[in-house]
């Protein structure tokens, strides 16, 4: 058996030591008397006691030790260790709640400190590096993420974390949260669907008529350059005037503010990536493939639907992916013009200086974008492998 000694990994120790420094130097968690007051911060030892401090520190030390060992198996062990650690991370906050939360106060809550965020961030980076070293398949990566999400879900529904500020904010507005989710998804996905149809038509027109290419691409990239706040703002006056002139539009909900200008702006932004990718994808189908199709007796229609479209699909889906991520972010901004969605929580929270409300809006927005990325990337690879 050949003795294959592998070089020590330097990335994991660097990350683990950074995590160790952050965890000991920054506030791990906070205890707030109510939702507005910023509260008292506690370091790792004060927040979780010697048990938490020892577990976290030794976990990071073990990770450093494993990364330096010269075997390949170390990465499997590391992966298991990191997944377990990430799944159980919220339990550390539960320890803080048990130790420091005053029992007689109904409004007291615990907040997440910078130390906790840094620990979660560095652990996630270490896991990313480990999975990369293992050359993990997409399926394995996806199940890892799902496992961790399940772990957090389980922890969040436990009684011990009911005093966590984020969960308090959610519990106060569970209905609004569901509504924000629905609005956010229907606005962004609706805009993506409509612009997909439009973009497909535009790209086909460009394929047929070369002359249209420059003006159309110029127009859609011009729209992409206008900052979101400006475009939302500029649509208010014309739509407002339109609905004032034709009252039946108001019964449809089309006004200067609300979903109508948001939808229009989202569609305008979505066109560039969609049109560009669809056009490039259709143009890049190799000529010999098309010739072979003709040789087999396919007519133009069959060539388009059976050859060109399937071959172009991965690049088109990549356009949909970019567009969807972008639309989810822009929908959050659209809350400023009254379109609803998670942006409502963000801007309300900023207005009231209630940071937990800001988190309640920002974290789901990030989560939606990451989920859309994961789902559409998986679809793209499926399309490419067929």
């Amino acid at each position: 058996m050949p003795v294959s000694t592998q070089p020590p990994n330097r990335v994991i120790p660097a990350l683990a030591l950074s995590a160790l420094a952050c965890v000991w130097l920054l506030d791990f968690g906070l205890v707030q008397p109510n939702r507005i007051v910023s509260g008292t911060g506690y370091g790792l030892y004060a927040a979780t006691g010697w048990l938490g401090a020892v577990v976290v520190s030794s976990l990071l030390a073990v990770a450093v030790g494993l990364a330096l060992r010269p075997t390949h198996k170390r990465f499997w062990v590391l992966a298991l260790l990191l997944i377990t650690a990430l799944m159980a991370l919220p339990l550390l906050l539960e320890m803080l709640a048990q130790r420091k939360l005053p029992e007689d106060s109904a409004y007291a809550r615990i907040g997440i400190g910078a130390g906790f965020w840094c620990l979660a961030f560095f652990l996630a980076l270490m896991l990313l590096e480990t999975l990369g070293q293992l050359k993990a398949s997409r399926r394995l990566q996806l199940s890892t993420v799902l496992l961790i999400v399940a772990g957090w879900w389980f922890c969040a529904t436990r009684e011990g974390l009911s005093s966590l500020s984020l969960i308090r904010e959610y519990a106060n507005r569970a209905d609004q949260f569901t509504q924000a989710l629905t609005t956010h998804l229907s606005l962004s996905l609706g805009a993506v669907a409509i612009s997909a149809v439009l973009a497909f038509g535009l790209a086909l027109a460009m394929v047929r008529r070369e002359r249209l290419r420059r003006p159309l691409l110029g127009l859609v990239s011009f729209m992409q350059t206008i900052p979101s706040l400006a475009l939302f703002g500029l649509l208010i006056a014309p739509l407002g005037a339109l609905s004032a002139a034709y009252p039946f539009l108001q019964t449809l909900g089309i006004r200067g503010i609300g979903w109508a200008p948001a939808m229009l702006a989202l569609i305008a932004y979505s066109l560039l990536p969609m049109v560009r990718n669809t056009y490039v994808a259709l143009m890049e189908v190799p000529e010999p493939v098309v010739d072979a199709g003709r040789g087999m007796g396919m007519n133009e229609r069959q060539i388009f639907f059976k050859l060109k479209l399937p071959l172009a699909l991965p690049v088109i889906i990549e356009g949909v992916r970019i567009t969807t991520i972008q639309a989810i972010g822009l929908t959050a901004v659209a809350a400023l013009i009254g379109a609803g969605g998670f942006g409502t929580f963000i801007f309300q929270g900023l207005g009231q200086a209630a940071m937990d409300l800001v988190l309640l809006g920002a974290l789901p927005t990030v989560f939606l974008a990451l989920a859309a990325d994961a789902i559409l990337s998986a679809l793209k690879f499926q399309g490419a492998s067929r």
Binding site: L229, G233, L350, A369
Partner: protein, 243 residues
């Protein structure tokens, strides 16, 4: 000279509007007939424009320095171990919406200019980093071999061969980053930075469409002027370094 015509013209219009908007009050009575305060007056547009540009400029400078040096570090032998992780983080990070980064900077740093700057730097360096990696990674290894064969030191290879060849791609990354940051800085008004977003936000809060239009026009013009400036620079760059 022709590529510079569009940016110069747009910058002239932008400056002229920033100075002259207050004199155009009668025009805005058409947009917002029900109020006397037709012009946003809490700060001058000129000041807001300067402050907006300053934020974007500072964040682009810091972002470029950090991203390009990080990109160089992870493509040298000493830092190559970090390359897979850094390139993955650069692409996953871009999935996070800029407005969320802006919102999350507030719990970390409070309200004002500083969290806005932090968010702009953090988010802005991702496209530059990604393009730096793509630019440096896309260079034909044979070119690097022959440069070494000519007796160049590794510093010479970096500054005389790699960076000039990757420059155009890096510049495109800076362009993307600046475009995003002009838009994000405008939203920075909601967390207390003073930018051209102020009139828009104030207008939305008070239901004054005239304010909204004034801010929106200036933000839009700033973005277009900057974009056409980059277009011109990219063309000039292409002429200088075309082989």
């Amino acid at each position: 000279m022709r590529p510079w015509l569009a940016p110069v013209a747009l910058i002239a219009v932008l400056c002229a509007l920033a100075a002259l908007l207050p004199a155009m009050a009668p025009l805005f009575s058409w947009v917002e007939p029900n109020t006397d305060s037709l012009i946003y007056t809490r700060d001058s547009f000129w000041f807001l424009l300067q402050s907006h540009i300053w934020l974007v400029l500072v964040s682009a400078t810091i972002g470029t320095l950090v991203a390009v040096s990080a990109g160089i570090f992870v493509t040298r032998p000493a830092g190559r171990d970090f390359l897979p992780l850094v390139s993955q983080v650069a692409s996953i990070g871009q999935t996070v919406p800029p407005v969320a980064v802006l919102a999350l900077a507030v719990p970390a740093m409070g309200f004002g200019e500083k969290p806005t700057l932090l968010a702009l730097v953090l988010y802005g360096l991702l496209p530059i980093l990604r393009n730096t990696l793509a630019g440096l990674g896309g260079i034909n290894p044979a070119v690097l071999e022959s440069a070494k064969g000519m007796g160049m030191s590794s510093a010479q290879v970096l500054f005389k061969v790699e960076l000039p060849l990757a420059g155009r791609v890096i510049l495109a990354g800076i362009r993307t980053s600046v475009t995003i940051n002009i838009a994000t800085a405008a939203i920075g008004s909601t967390i207390g930075a003073r930018t051209l977003g102020d009139p828009v936000i104030a207008g939305l809060v008070n239901g004054n469409t005239a304010y909204v239009v004034q801010g929106a026009i200036l933000i839009g013009l700033l973005a277009l002027a900057t974009d056409s400036l980059f277009e011109a620079i990219e063309r000039a760059w292409g002429r200088t370094f075309s082989i």
